[in-house]
């Protein structure tokens, strides 16, 4: 059975790019355009993998990542970060939130900085969920 992959990104061109890669590799693509919609989709669809942007309206990927990784039911879902925000800033932000909000979240499974080639994305997805 094909696996479901949710793309959360506010840029329609990026969503389209990722959906094409997913379809070409026989995954079922799901899409959300911001952090709020993304969380709703994750809770509703329980996807096998999430590909997540960081800088988005109505809730960034940083908060969404944190919500998923601190939720007992959702934290098992692997997340590939796919963003223009540098890993260094992402990690610093999580550290700041760890200090401010308490707790600690794990580092992302995969962190891809835009832009990347379709093959590179397909390979990263395959490595995570087969």
């Amino acid at each position: 059975m094909s696996k479901k992959v949710l793309v959360v990104d506010d840029d329609p061109d990026v969503r389209s790019f990722v959906v094409t890669v997913l379809e070409e590799n026989q995954y079922i693509p799901l899409v959300a355009q911001d952090g709020v919609e993304g969380l709703e989709m994750i809770e509703k669809e329980q996807p096998d993998l999430v590909i997540l942007d960081v800088l988005m309206p109505r809730g960034s990927g940083i908060r969404l990542y944190r919500k998923v990784k601190t939720d007992e039911e959702l934290k098992k879902i692997p997340i590939i970060m796919f963003t223009g925000i540098a890993l260094r800033s992402f990690l610093k932000s999580q550290k700041a939130l760890d200090e401010f909000k308490g707790g600690e979240v794990p580092k992302p499974d995969v962190y891809l900085e835009k832009p990347i080639e379709p093959d590179e994305l397909a390979l990263a997805i395959k490595k995570k969920i087969g």
Binding site: D34, V54, L55, M56, P57, R58, G59, S60, I62, R63, G84, I85, A86, S89, F90, K92, S93, A96, L97, E99, F100
Partner: protein, 293 residues
């Protein structure tokens, strides 16, 4: 009323990271979330004879904005703030209102450069239009003319000019929400010369005493909240006197409530607010009144 989320509207020429940086003092109060908005005006990418819709130009402008926002966002993310961004080809005010609807910010920050062309872009009709159509407080940012930099400590010495309108109370609540960032607030009321015309010296002193007492009470109320406050009564033309007081007390910004009555009469928040917003060198925080939107 706390400022948890702010909407930062920029065309980059007018509002840059230095302005944003000066607002980060609000973190000490309650700021958690910054939303960027860059509106690319339609005429920059519109249909042109011989070239049609400039799609490539749109992509270029959006990417340029995106790169700036990513850079700014990284700084804010590292501070533990939440950040969002919008880049749209649209018309400024409707787009701001659309984003306000989606994000419900507690403050809108918009630029007003003292440079000629940009002044025309934002200062006049746009801010006027915006304040007529929203109840969200608006901070109109200014670059200082002489050195083109923004005040670093925006909240250090605000000057609040009150006319005792109902909006004044909303403004006071808003000021209380900033108690952790305000250094010392100067509160003034301007008695119009026309109100003193037929009065003798005794009556004039009486008017001053009454107004001073009201200001003292307000200062006491704020002092109880932990905000240092100083009262001032001025007499004369409100616009000129507010400017004078801002200069005398080296205000870091001017805070103005809007008058519903004036808004109805003048389709704007009152000529005093309008003129100060447009002409003053000081950043202006405008607190609009309640509207039947």
């Amino acid at each position: 009323m706390e400022i948890k989320k702010l909407l930062f509207v920029t065309k980059f020429e007018d509002l840059c990271y230095d302005a944003l940086n000066s607002l980060l003092a609000l973190r000490k109060a309650s700021l958690e979330h910054v939303v960027f908005l860059n509106v690319i005006e339609r005429d920059k990418v519109a249909m042109q004879r011989g070239s049609g819709y400039l799609k490539e130009e749109e992509v270029k402008l959006k990417e340029t904005a995106n790169i700036r926002f990513i850079d700014w966002a990284e700084n804010l993310f590292e501070l533990g703030l939440e950040v969002g961004a919008y880049m749209e080809v649209s018309t400024l005010i409707p787009e701001i209102l659309k984003v306000v609807d989606k994000e419900s910010p507690d403050l809108i920050v918009i630029g007003h450069s003292q440079k000629g062309a940009l002044e025309q872009l934002y200062a006049g009709s746009d801010v006027t239009e915006l304040i007529r159509r929203t109840e969200i407080p608006i901070l109109v940012f200014k670059h200082r003319i002489e050195d083109n930099i923004v005040p670093e400590k925006l909240f250090e010495r605000p000057l609040f000019a009150t006319n005792w309108s109902e909006t004044g109370q909303k403004t006071i609540d808003y000021i209380k929400g900033m108690k952790k960032v305000i250094g010392e607030i100067h509160i003034m009321h301007v008695v119009k010369e026309s109100a003193l015309k037929s009065l003798d010296t005794h009556d004039v002193q009486k008017v001053r005493k009454v107004e001073r007492k009201r200001l003292d009470d307000l200062c006491d109320e704020l002092e109880e909240m932990g905000i240092h406050a100083r009262p001032h009564v001025y007499v004369g033309d409100p616009q000129k006197e507010i400017e004078k007081a801002a200069k005398e007390y080296q205000a870091s910004m001017v805070i103005l409530g809007s008058s519903e009555k004036a808004a109805l009469l003048e389709r704007w928040v009152g000529s005093i607010s309008k003129n100060i917003t447009e002409k003053s060198i000081y950043p202006c925080l405008l607190i609009p009144g309640k509207k039947d939107i």
